[in-house]
Subunit: 407 residues, 2 copies
């Protein structure tokens, strides 16, 4: 399939507009903290939400509004997660959708909502409501950059992508923006991601495509093993590409799934790369597993290990910590068949063969590990399944960002 | 029950001797790296070992030698974990027991073995074997201090305790030494613990008491969530206290279990307190859970959360991160019934009531969190079960110790 990267982010697909402004939730007035995504026509819509038992108030409202699988706008604030605020929080999340619906002259149920930032602090709904008319007025084709700025917390760069594919002779566009594990005030990290597309697809298949691709992208990223209360991935599809509607799993459907997976994996990796304090993007690829589930458990165990993460930070070819992390993943495998490689743009080196040390060149290993993107490749030599997960190293800055308030 | 703390560590019980010397495995000649524990008479013996799929060679040998539930000596080295060395490692672990048995004139099967240190590097068995005669010759009642020094890696203090109890009118003594999450060379952390006692008990009930108390002590400690390849807890009981043999679960048995739990919890907490880079000991107590298993999962989720650990390092009363960690423990509970307190020697403060913020005094919270031992108390208000786990904060020094090789 031919996937073409284009400019335009979240507003690249036909009929989508966006805006982003500062309303006063963040202390720094140079930042933006309120974003709006809007489709000129109604959309099929779907969402994937955090598995955390403690959920932010916006999650409940968005889920309720998605029950008819339709939506037309998404309102997002940073600077306050509106979580652990009881009924007051639920009421305020609802009010965000009511005010947005009024400004856009659409139904409240067609507005979704997401929040990220400090938890357990009452949301200042008044300043949000007073800024929503200006936010709606600012909607434009050029608004994607402002919108993606407004959802950032301690992200160090904006995360946007737009791609084009061809389906049944029609150009179909997908746009996306996301934010990663950042902190605003000393509190909570949250992953938010939004996808817009002009593809014509049934809401059932849209949901299936989103769930399927979320599993192999956002659900395979880990910055510190913590699952936020507010994690949200939303998709809106307005059909303006005018391809014949996709309502069965035909070739067009699989083309769309492939493109959506490409988009989601790209942005998921950006989140790992921009993890708090991260200096390196780490991929752990497990090869030769007896099942996908086992491969995933093993890969996640390695990518989450603090000892592996600090070793990569220190450019140390410490394969022993990788074997140790594989060993406590509670998955059956034969340690004596395991091979481990470190790879990067600088090259590839085998450091452990059949579970034991090989006499590798430490200078070459160091050169490989000094790169910014590191692949840990593990061959289990047991089956045919392979899985990658993505994470980042653990640096002094992770501790600084998350722990250095009082010292 | 009256538990009396006494001097003497691992050699406090009747009939036990110990020694510790430098044989050359560690680079620093000021350190010790080879330890021996010996009972003048045969012992009932039992062990609890790592659940990691990748196990150190000594684990296989000790398990084999424990099959008859008897032992008389334990040989331990630091500086090399003898792990991921294939058959060569197994052969060398066996040779450690053979040489020790020869020097002590006992059966090879009565010698247990444990190793801690770098993994994937061949063990220098020759220097160990050449030093075993001197090690055996050095056995003495005063040897506990040298032995506990010789098992240290990056531990910053020795971990020893001896206690006395009375059973059926006889004085029964338990001694113990342990080492925690330390690193020797840039590699592996391992928990080792050894208990000696002169109690007269059947090997079956000794095993049951050890397994039961390990679950509520060492298995409730976490420094960084990583489970080592070499974790080992061993107990030897020689019967010289001459109490009537304990071979049914009578009052004497439960008295012993209580004393053993006290000893194991004490040393397990010392390991958490001395975690790599740790500045604070953290206890997370879950109250009001619907089952012990749920309480344990929730408590471990909090104690392992990097965001909670960095918050405590920063003396930040960030209860939101605690609710978040409870929420991803994959346990059913009602977030709207959760109360959270921070406690220390300086006082106690309620920071979250019924899942929402309370307007607490931040200065008082800071005073409480500046202490060295912090209790996070979580009330679920759902059932009658409670569980504590112990861990430590996550500091710059954790990253320095584990990641700062090349920078």
């Amino acid at each position: 399939m031919n996937i073409k990267t284009i400019l335009g982010g979240i507003t690249a697909p036909k009929g989508f507009l966006a805006s982003g402004i500062y309303c006063g939730l963040k202390k720094n007035k140079e930042m933006k903290d309120l974003a709006l995504i809007y489709s000129e026509t109604p959309c099929s819509a779907s969402g994937v939400f955090t598995s955390n038992m403690v959920k932010g108030a916006p999650i409940y409202i968005s889920k309720e509004h998605l029950s008819n699988k339709k939506a037309q706008a998404v309102i997002i604030n940073s600077g306050n997660a509106n979580t652990c605020n009881g009924d007051d929080g639920l009421g305020k999340a609802k009010r965000m959708t009511i005010s947005t619906a009024k400004a856009l002259n659409i139904a409240t149920e067609d507005v979704l909502v997401a929040s990220t930032g400090v938890i357990g602090v009452p949301l200042n709904i008044d300043i949000i409501e007073s800024h929503i008319p200006a936010l709606a007025k600012g909607l434009s084709k050029e608004g994607s950059s402002n919108a993606s700025s407004a959802i950032m917390t301690t992200d160090t760069f904006k995360k946007e992508l737009a791609i084009e594919i061809t389906i049944a002779g029609k150009t179909v566009t997908l746009g996306s923006m996301s934010k990663g594990s950042g902190m605003i005030e000393p509190n909570m990290c949250t992953m938010l991601a939004f996808v817009t597309t002009d593809i014509n697809i049934s809401s059932e298949l849209l949901e299936e495509a989103l769930t399927k691709t979320a599993k192999v992208s956002y659900n395979r990223v880990s910055v510190d093993g913590d699952t936020s209360t507010n994690d949200t991935l939303l998709i809106l599809a307005n059909g303006l590409a005018e391809n014949p509607i996709i309502d069965t799993k035909n070739d067009d459907y699989y083309t769309f799934v492939e493109a959506l997976e490409y988009l989601n994996v790209y942005l998921a990796k950006k989140i790992a790369q921009d993890g708090e304090g991260a200096t390196k993007l780490i991929e752990c690829k497990i090869l030769g597993a007896t099942s996908e589930e086992n491969a995933l458990l093993l890969s996640k165990s390695v990518i989450n290990s603090p000892l592996v993460k600090t070793a990569i930070f220190g450019c140390d070819a410490n394969w022993g910590r990788i074997l140790c992390a594989l060993g406590y993943a509670k998955v059956d495998f034969n340690p004596e068949k395991v091979n481990v490689y470190f790879e990067s743009h600088a090259g590839s080196i085998l450091v452990c063969e059949n579970g034991s040390s090989v006499n590798f060149n430490e200078d070459i290993a160091l050169t490989i590990l000094k790169e910014k993107e590191i692949l840990i490749k593990v061959e289990l030599s047991m089956g045919d399944y392979e899985v990658s997960t993505w994470g980042c190293d653990l640096s002094y800055d992770y501790v600084k960002i998350n722990g250095d308030y009082r010292s």
